[in-house]
Symmetry: C2
Subunit: 266 residues, 2 copies
């Protein structure tokens, strides 16, 4: 068994430097998943932080690295009473691949949200009706990550993914880690980038490379699968922004994200 903690493990080499190993199994068409790389950097910065939980992470993706050995440099920027900020950089072959900045703090248990009025309706369908994605893209290329993460799409979203887009630009479904291991603030950074591009529900295209991804972790997740809603907002060629909202098994919103990505419509 190889857990998500195993494939995102980091080992200190110096006071602010870690080594890591990018797994070939957490890739789509050979590209390591961006959320997976962000989780790896998040693990490194958390080790050097006075606060335990990532609250906000923003990453710019410079190059898509090959799987294999990586180095993570961390710079602590500030350690305050309630929050700390740190910067992390993932390098492969000494080339920077991901530059990410983090604000960490403490997610204390509380009685739930004080107000919500701007979230999509998670519209919980039966997870048993959802369809698990195979480790192959609609275009027939390898999607090794889907043999690791358990990504299940609602039946209508699956139709969009599989080549009959609804035009709504929205993909909904469920996410679990290998062996059903519970999520934590590190693996939630992966959760917001685990789904196929929401643009697949508009048009089937090639790779939709992420330029920037920002995630806000809002609460400690309860054990169990996550409910994910990913939605395209605007395609102004050649870029699209997508919003992703994620709820835990109790129906609480636990992480949300936006990303800007490249897309070439047919």
């Amino acid at each position: 068994m190889t857990t998500f903690a195993d494939v995102t493990a980091v080992t200190a080499m110096a006071p602010a430097e870690f080594k890591a190993d990018i797994s070939p199994r957490w890739t789509i068409v050979g590209h390591p998943n961006g959320g997976y790389l962000l989780a790896m950097i998040g693990r490194a910065v958390t080790e050097l932080s006075a606060h335990p939980h990532v609250l906000a992470a923003s990453a710019h993706f410079l190059r898509s690295p090959e799987p294999g050995p990586a180095r993570i440099e961390v710079e602590a920027l500030r350690a305050g009473r309630s929050t700390s900020q740190l910067r992390g950089r993932l390098l492969v072959d000494e080339k920077p691949c991901v530059e990410a900045t983090f604000t960490l703090g403490t997610l204390a248990p509380n009685s739930g949200p004080a107000w919500q009025g701007g979230l999509p309706d998670p519209a919980m369908t039966d997870p048993a009706a959802a369809i698990r994605l195979p480790p192959v893209t609609p275009g027939g290329q390898p999607a090794a990550m889907m043999a690791e993460a358990d990504v299940r799409l609602d039946p209508d979203s699956y139709q969009g993914f599989a080549g009959t887009p609804s035009g709504r630009g929205e993909i909904r479904g469920w996410l679990a880690l290998p062996d059903g291991v519970a999520f934590d603030p590190i693996s939630l950074l992966y959760a917001v980038d685990a789904f196929p591009p929401a643009t697949f529900d508009i048009a089937t295209t090639g790779w939709v490379p992420t330029l920037e991804l920002t995630a806000y972790v809002r609460a400690l997740p309860a054990p169990g699968p996550l409910r994910v809603v990913s939605k395209a907002r605007l395609i102004d060629s050649p870029w699209v922004d997508q919003a992703c909202d994620v709820w835990d098994s109790t129906g609480r919103l636990v992480v949300q994200a936006t990303q800007l990505a490249g897309v070439r419509l047919p």
Copy 2:
């Protein structure tokens, strides 16, 4: 006349270092506006970039500086064919105050968005009916920035701002720079943080300090005032996320942002 370009001016001191001057006039209750500081850093990184336009900017706010002299350090991370990435840090008294990462590229004129399906309805009302914010907060404290930027709220949003919140958590209105100077990708970074917190339409509170702000510049803006819609999404104490979408005078979406901020409801 002091233009926005004047108050965000940066002067090269070394190959990757600039000096700047934080204006006391672009403050709310003495705090320099976060979008104003981000625009200043954006100007510095653009000077060192092979590409002319900020596409994505993500900033973490470490400390709220006093107005006065500041230093901006820039690190070029990558210069590619279609995009470049740079990192900028604003320091006051040698303490880092804002850490921001940028992806730059070229916003080419095109025929408009290829698809939009996830944006709020900008619901353009008559700008002549909008009410200009005075340079004072609802709590009676100084809001010097409102004597510089021309922020006009739709009448119903003004009611929320002025102490009769609708509970919708949404603030809509119009924005212009001093002397009506046209916006550009640098000043658009200010535009996404120019409005009062959308949470004022839920409850009147004190300062809502931004932890993180991410902006995506989507198109070159036409001259004229901008239409701004800022919406709270979820308050899970003590943090709130807000989304901001901004259209130019032709009705084209030109910049959008999310931010995570601290809020203490009464």
